[in-house]
């Protein structure tokens, strides 16, 4: 034991990134002058010394086997001197100096099922969460819906014909790992039934004051049932956020019949042109319909198509809606506007229309 403990290394942090940078990057770090997109998924960065770095970006499902990662490593050895990186949206990029190797690299990537694209006015992959693959609080799967949507939007990944950038993100519950709440289109898993309280387990597994305090609307009250200290949920106050489940496993919200997903539109994180903003509710609920979630795929496709057809150059989803107004958005997309669209939480009043700037109906 003591021998093992002595050998243990801790608190070293990640390896220094310099170990993994290609020579052309080390030589031109901080000296890049401009870049150009040469074709979908391929760009060149040119430095002050006129050095060129070519990047080829390929699609990834994020969930990768070590077998696939080794294949990427082999491809990197063959074409990019062993150097590669991953992007903030989970794509893989090969970094090279020899332009002539780009076409055979793209061919090799295609042959193992990884199309090249995702740069410029295109969709650059969907960032997503674990879903049923690995999460306890998921109201829907993530990888499956994402796969089904990207199969449908593949041409917008491998070409550059969109009005502007299209960022789609997917979170399988309201905990929202990742920034889905500021995306052009966000898909969000939702619960719609009250927590199923396990009164036998609850007193053994959860602290009741912590549990009560976890509820944003104070809907959870301590009660005694059959002599056991447990809690009750005030039905009219529950907004299905699942905060209680996060602190207490005996408050199960997952429900095979009523869980599903919602769709939000018009958010962005970039400061370009307009300020960063949240996505707003477009569709309150669509059912879980595995394996391909046709309702969700159709809804996303419809919103993307209407945006493509109507937006001006550079106009992101939210900027386009700013210009045409929400009534027109609902009309053009043929999405019904209903009670759930009107906010009723803390800052609800800020979203009411307080002017007569109303377009022709």
């Amino acid at each position: 034991m003591s021998e093992t403990v002595k050998k243990r290394i801790t608190d070293i942090g990640p390896p220094h990134y310099e170990k993994f940078l290609p020579p052309v990057i080390k030589a031109n770090y901080g000296k890049w002058k401009y870049h150009e997109i040469l074709q979908p998924g391929v760009m060149v960065h040119v430095s002050e010394t006129n050095a060129k770095l070519f990047t080829v970006r390929a699609a990834s499902p994020r969930l990768l086997s070590i077998d696939k990662i080794r294949k990427f490593a082999d491809i990197a050895d063959k074409f990019s001197d062993g150097f590669l990186r991953f992007t903030s949206r989970n794509n893989v990029e090969f970094l090279m100096t020899d332009e002539t190797k780009i076409p055979p690299l793209i061919e090799d990537l295609r042959s193992i099922g990884h199309p090249v694209g995702g740069i410029g006015p295109a969709i650059s992959n969907i960032v997503h969460t674990q879903g049923w693959v690995h999460c306890h609080s998921a109201a829907t799967d993530a990888s499956g819906v994402v796969k089904a949507i990207m199969d449908e939007l593949i041409d917008d990944f491998t070409s550059m014909s969109l009005p502007g950038k299209l960022r789609i993100a997917f979170a399988c519950c309201l905990n929202m790992c990742g920034a889905v709440h500021c995306s052009d289109i966000a898909l969000l898993g939702v619960h719609r039934k009250l927590p199923e309280i396990n009164h036998d387990m609850l007193p053994k597994t959860c602290e009741i004051p912590t549990l009560s305090a976890s509820c944003p609307t104070a809907a959870i009250r301590p009660v005694t049932i059959d002599g056991k200290q447990t809690v009750e949920v005030l039905e009219e106050k529950c907004m299905f956020c699942a905060n209680c489940f996060t602190v207490c496993p005996s408050m199960k919200l997952n429900n095979s019949e009523f869980d599903g997903l919602s769709i939000w539109v018009g958010g962005k994180v970039s400061n370009a042109r307009t300020e960063p903003r949240f996505s707003k509710l477009a569709i309150p609920y669509l059912p879980n319909n595995p394996p391909r979630w046709p309702e969700a795929v159709e809804a996303v496709k419809n919103i993307v198509d209407v945006w493509k057809k109507n937006a001006r150059n550079f106009e992101r989803m939210g900027e386009w809606i700013d210009r045409i107004g929400w009534p027109k958005f609902f009309k053009l997309t043929d999405i019904p506007f209903q009670k759930e669209h009107i906010d009723d939480f803390k800052h609800a009043g800020l979203t009411y229309k307080t002017s007569t700037h109303l377009t022709q109906s």
Binding site: I12, G144, K147, I154, M176, A179, F245, S256, P291, N313
Partner: protein, 393 residues
């Protein structure tokens, strides 16, 4: 592996042009029994329309309070090889750069100790090693540290900091995001591995206001590159964009939020005093325009996802700092440490810093950490007259 798992629903997701996560799981399942049971359990979820993972438990490696997420199947009899299926978060190299050599070493470790499945990468930025048993955690950890890697953060701790590729490849980076990210990660190692905060704490570093790591939407501290002098401008290149078909008035000038540009068909004039550094004109004409030379970053604070009181974007704390050397990093850490101390002292359990600031008020918060209020901190001054005047005694 013996008998084949039947997965009619998942098989459908092997069709189509987008790379399939099902194919990845199936590949791993050929040689790994955990991956095989994962495939079986996932098919069961597709059948039942519900997840089959139980609430996490506390598992980890000696001396650390985080970095491993406990995960247990709720169908352990049917899928015994994923009855324990814990996630290991591995702190990624800044900018997500790798060599083929180091990736192979990581794969070898995960072949020996886990499911052979990964996420490259998780939402926060870590490399995610997806699924192993408790008895494999310590050996996985020791083999990782032997090749220079360490675990990432989880729970109420500093979460693994992440950044865009910054100056390594991008001409727009206004500071060295990878260097700062590496430095912050090293500076906060103790706070990263040993959760002692009211709730999670995320640092995200973006090199310019395009914010490729979405720091303004999901980081407690968002460090976003910007500049304070004039945009660098090459008139001939602007003319080239015009000749190549870009409608400079419609697509660039009319999209300028500062309304500070004018194009007369031959010259682009910029009233830099009113430029808000949004990046649009630079994005549209990267060969003609670039950020100024006096570069640094804006420090924003408090963004988060909805849990608990609703989502927030980060808001400006310090409009501009230079980040040219380690000395400037130290000044930043002094500010961060003052904020963290206050939050640890006064914050409620599971209250992110953004929600804490909303509760106590930005003005009180700024005063408590020793900063002066400035107009850059607000979109507008208050419009309600209920003011808590404090006349000095």
């Amino acid at each position: 592996m013996s008998e084949e798992v039947k997965t009619p629903k998942l098989d459908d997701l092997e069709k189509g042009p987008w790379p399939s996560f099902v194919s990845e799981i199936k590949t791993a399942a050929k040689t790994n029994k955990m991956a095989k049971d994962l495939l079986g359990q996932l098919e069961q979820s597709y059948e039942d329309k519900i997840g089959h993972w139980k609430h996490g438990g506390i598992v980890g490696v000696l001396g650390y309070g985080g970095g491993v997420i406990g995960r247990y199947s709720d169908l352990p009899d049917k899928f015994p090889n994923v009855s324990h299926f814990h996630t290991v978060r591995v702190n990624q190299p800044a900018g997500w750069y790798y060599t083929s050599d180091i990736l192979r070493k990581l794969c070898d470790i995960w072949e020996r100790h886990g499911s052979g499945l990964t996420n490259m990468h998780g939402s926060t930025g870590d490399m995610v090693l997806l699924g192993t048993t408790t008895d494999q955690l310590e050996s996985t950890f020791q083999e990782l540290t032997a090749i220079g890697f360490d675990l990432g953060g989880s729970g109420s701790a500093v979460r693994t900091p992440s950044c865009c590729c910054g100056q390594s490849r991008c001409e727009w980076a206004c500071y060295d995001t990878m260097k700062l990210t590496y430095d912050i990660t090293q500076h906060y190692q103790d706070e990263l591995h040993r959760p002692a905060f009211p709730y999670k704490w995320k640092f995200k570093m973006s090199g310019c206001p395009n914010d490729c790591v979405a720091s303004i939407a999901r980081a407690d501290i968002s460090i976003i590159g910007t500049w304070r002098d004039d945009i660098q401008l090459v008139q001939d290149e602007v003319r080239n964009y015009s000749k190549a078909g870009l409608d400079i008035n419609r697509d660039v000038v009319n999209n300028c939020p500062g309304k500070c540009m004018d194009w007369d068909g031959n010259n682009l004039a910029i009233e830099n005093e009113y430029c808000v550094k949004c990046m649009h004109c630079i994005n549209a004409m990267p060969k003609a325009l670039s950020p100024g030379k006096d570069r640094g970053a804006a420090i924003l604070i408090g963004s988060k996802a909805p849990i608990m009181q609703g989502a927030q974007l980060s808001s400006v704390l310090i409009p501009f700092v230079k980040l040219d050397d380690e000395e400037s990093y130290k000044d930043l850490y002094e500010v961060f440490d003052a904020i963290i101390d206050l939050w640890c002292e006064e914050g409620k359990s599971r209250e992110r810093i953004g929600e804490f600031i909303r509760r106590v008020g930005l003005a009180n918060f700024v005063e408590a950490i020793g900063l002066e209020p400035t107009p850059e901190m607000v979109g507008a001054p208050r419009d309600n007259p209920y003011i808590f005047y404090q006349i000095e005694k």
